[in-house]
């Protein structure tokens, strides 16, 4: 969860300007709550690298929100409201949707891969930059309408967009060879 990003993590994000003298161990001792506000701030500016202004302005954020449906690995749907300017990676984390974000939005991984289920919505998005395409090359279960969640930013025309999380195990029960077909060996033998 984004709210749990420690200050230690933030230092990694802001590696260009390390805050001197801060002991990461002691800073971690602060309650999680104390860190949240700062995380939200940095989270917005960090994850929403493609946007400006709106993400820092809390009041305008609360006014304009769009509806986004996430479809999880088991096919369960969850409808959430996402403020304009927020990335889908961040929106997923704010709503406890299990979308990984290993590199925390720095375009260095493909773990926030989402599939836009409706090609009309996909076409409304700006084309991915080379760096996003480089990561999509490696995304698990890539489709024609795949994007990285960190690069899809909520905007009014995306209201109603549906995003599916790719799954390694969705069809596990049907395509897996049943374990009962095997004899169990004795572990101690």
């Amino acid at each position: 969860m984004l709210a749990r990003v420690s200050r230690l993590g933030l230092r990694a994000l802001c590696r260009a300007s390390p805050s001197p003298g801060q002991n990461p161990l002691t800073s971690r001792r602060h309650g999680a709550e104390a860190v949240i506000s700062r995380v939200n701030h940095v989270g917005n500016t960090f994850f929403c690298s493609n946007t400006n202004a709106t993400s820092n302005d809390k009041s305008s954020e609360s006014e304009a929100k769009i509806s986004v449906t996430f479809i999880d690995k088991d096919g369960e749907e969850k409808l959430v409201k996402v403020p304009i300017g927020m990335s889908m990676l961040e929106a997923a984390h704010e709503n406890d949707i299990e979308l990984e974000g290993a590199c925390e939005g720095s375009l260095a991984c493909s773990t926030c891969h989402v599939i836009v289920t409706d090609v009309d919505y996909y076409n409304k998005l700006e084309d991915p930059v080379d760096e996003e395409n480089d990561m999509l090359d490696l995304a698990f279960g890539l489709t024609e309408t795949s994007r990285l969640g960190c690069q899809v930013i909520a905007s009014p025309e995306l209201d109603g967009i549906r995003l599916a999380l790719p799954s390694a195990t969705r069809n596990f029960a049907v395509d897996g060879i049943q374990l009962s077909g095997f004899t169990m060996a004795d572990p101690t033998s």
Binding site: G21, A102, C103, N133, D137
Partner: protein, 502 residues
């Protein structure tokens, strides 16, 4: 063992208790929460595969208590010792792994070696579930004459060296006796080592590269790096991101690509049609071949892509003390007829490529431990969606409670994120087996889990490093790094690591 992270109220109170009692008590608390015995899980290896497995296991089973052991005092495997120092964004994932380690139901035991400090059969008797995630800590060899000459290293050794892995901190590769290095292989690891050899050390100085490696690179006389691949630009094993970086991102380096090598056969066209990544890699190489044409500057360092060549022997230098050249055989591609793949076959035409340093980047190799079924040919543990099988034959049986994930399961390929899906699959197998009641032995054979592990370690007098021991190392490294404007200054020897963890 006081943990420097926010704890739940129950766990906070436990801080007043002595360490051994506390470990035991918090496990009972977890058991009480799920109103039954905890499911004792041991994950061997704390790289991406291990941590993703722990994460999925903790989320997938509320009664799971996960212990991660690692032979190093430091966690995170190749994120620490494999990912290049100039790729800090790839290392951000350790934030997530650290949050997993902070889970009350998860513990880390560093400096504990499977097969030495604790055997596989001991672990299987102690835990309901053992998941092997110890990766690939050896190298495929080429098996050609002269491979033992001085100046020839595996890329893994070189990578561990510049990343400050305690097993390789004394490698001391000679970078001052030659102007040419040959890298055998064209995958991402090959690109990494080539980039480190050619890139500007003032840029490396701001990374977490080991201090001795930065010194050695500062004094390096290497100006030409040859990246040698058996096949062509269509089959290059690297990813677009790494290629883009080395083709365009290196200051004062001229890239050489033989335009004749870029000609595509009908089979190549077919491969490109079927693979997005191959298409994009080929396009980058084509563009680079044109962009660097006619760009002449004698001061520049040189990066040569050498396609359609396979190494056939290493030749000694004139005084015989080190490697002096690599003999290469020209190759051409033939359809292998089975997988629709094209393989390189020799043409009988040879040439020598002079060099004083060779880095072999032809693949990592996993090693077996005693009592573990192992497919020597493929270098993996035979498995069915992560369930370890007794052998690779068709009538193999499932080894109960034993699972595998990561490179040991599927071979040494893929990126950090590949392990996420790999772990999902293995954990799905575990949870499915758990639902079937496979881990509910008779009540007199209850597994002891963490308590049992601690007993074994105590009996053998093994001084393990808990996660807060790593946090002390982490903290010291970061403070030392701040003085030099680096994200961290890695501690690189076993002794110093163990001292720092105390």
């Amino acid at each position: 063992m006081g943990r420097a992270r926010p704890l739940h109220h129950a766990a906070r109170r436990l801080l007043l208790l002595p360490p051994r009692l506390r470990g035991f008590s918090s496990s009972s608390a977890a058991a009480a929460a799920s109103s039954r015995e905890p499911l004792h899980v041991c994950v061997v290896g704390s790289g991406p595969a291990g941590f993703y497995t722990a994460d999925k296991m903790l989320k997938g089973h509320q009664g799971a208590q996960v212990d991660i052991i690692d032979r190093l005092p430091t966690p995170f495997g190749l994120v620490r010792s494999g990912v290049a120092p100039d790729h800090p964004e790839t290392k951000i994932v350790v934030n997530q792994f650290s949050r997993v380690a902070a889970n009350d139901r998860c513990s880390f035991y560093g400096n504990v070696t499977l097969g030495m400090d604790v055997s596989l059969s001991e672990l299987r008797k102690t835990y309901d579930i053992v998941v092997l995630a110890y990766g690939a800590e050896s190298d495929r060899s080429l098996g050609i004459p002269g491979e033992d000459l001085r100046g020839i290293h595996s890329a893994r050794e070189f990578v561990w060296w510049y990343n400050g892995h305690p097993d390789m901190c004394n490698l001391a590769p000679d970078l001052q006796s030659t102007d040419s290095a040959v890298v055998l292989g064209q995958g991402n690891v090959a690109l990494d080592v080539a980039r480190i050899l050619l890139c500007c050390t003032s840029e490396l100085a701001a990374t977490d590269i080991a201090d001795y490696a930065l010194d050695a690179l500062n004094g390096s006389t290497i100006r030409k790096v040859y990246l040698v691949g058996r096949r062509g630009p269509v089959q290059a094993a690297c990813t677009a991101k790494e290629l883009r970086e080395i083709l365009g991102g290196l200051k004062n380096v001229r890239v050489f690509i033989n335009e004749a090598d870029l000609l595509k056969s009908p089979s190549d066209e077919e491969e490109i049609r079927n693979s997005r990544i191959q298409r994009r890699v080929y396009e980058l190489l084509s563009k680079a071949a044109i962009a660097h044409k006619g760009n002449n500057n004698n001061d520049q360092k040189e990066l040569h892509f050498v396609f359609f060549r396979r190494p056939t022997r290493f030749l000694p230098s004139e005084d015989g003390s080190t490697v002096g050249a690599v003999q290469l055989e020209k190759t051409c591609l033939k359809d292998d007829g089975v997988a629709g793949k094209q393989v390189a076959v020799g043409t009988g035409e040879f040439e020598d490529l002079k060099c004083g340093l060779v880095l072999k980047s032809v693949g990592y190799k996993s090693l077996p431990v005693e009592g573990l079924p192992f497919d020597k040919y493929r270098g993996v543990v035979p498995n069915l969606k992560g369930r370890v099988l007794s052998s690779e034959s068709e009538n193999a049986t499932v080894e109960p409670g034993l699972y595998v994930v990561g490179w040991l399961k599927r071979g040494p390929t893929g990126i950090v994120a590949t392990n996420l899906h790999c772990a999902e699959e293995t954990v799905a197998s575990i949870l499915e087996d758990e639902k079937k009641g496979l881990f509910m032995g008779p009540s007199d054979s209850k597994k002891e889990g963490r308590r049992g592990l601690l007993e074994i370690l105590e009996q053998k007098n093994i001084r393990f490093v808990p996660f807060d021991g790593w946090e002390k190392i982490d903290c010291k490294e970061k403070i030392a790094g701040e003085l030099k404007n680096k994200p961290r200054e890695k501690i690189t020897s076993w002794n110093e690591l163990l001292m720092a963890a105390n």
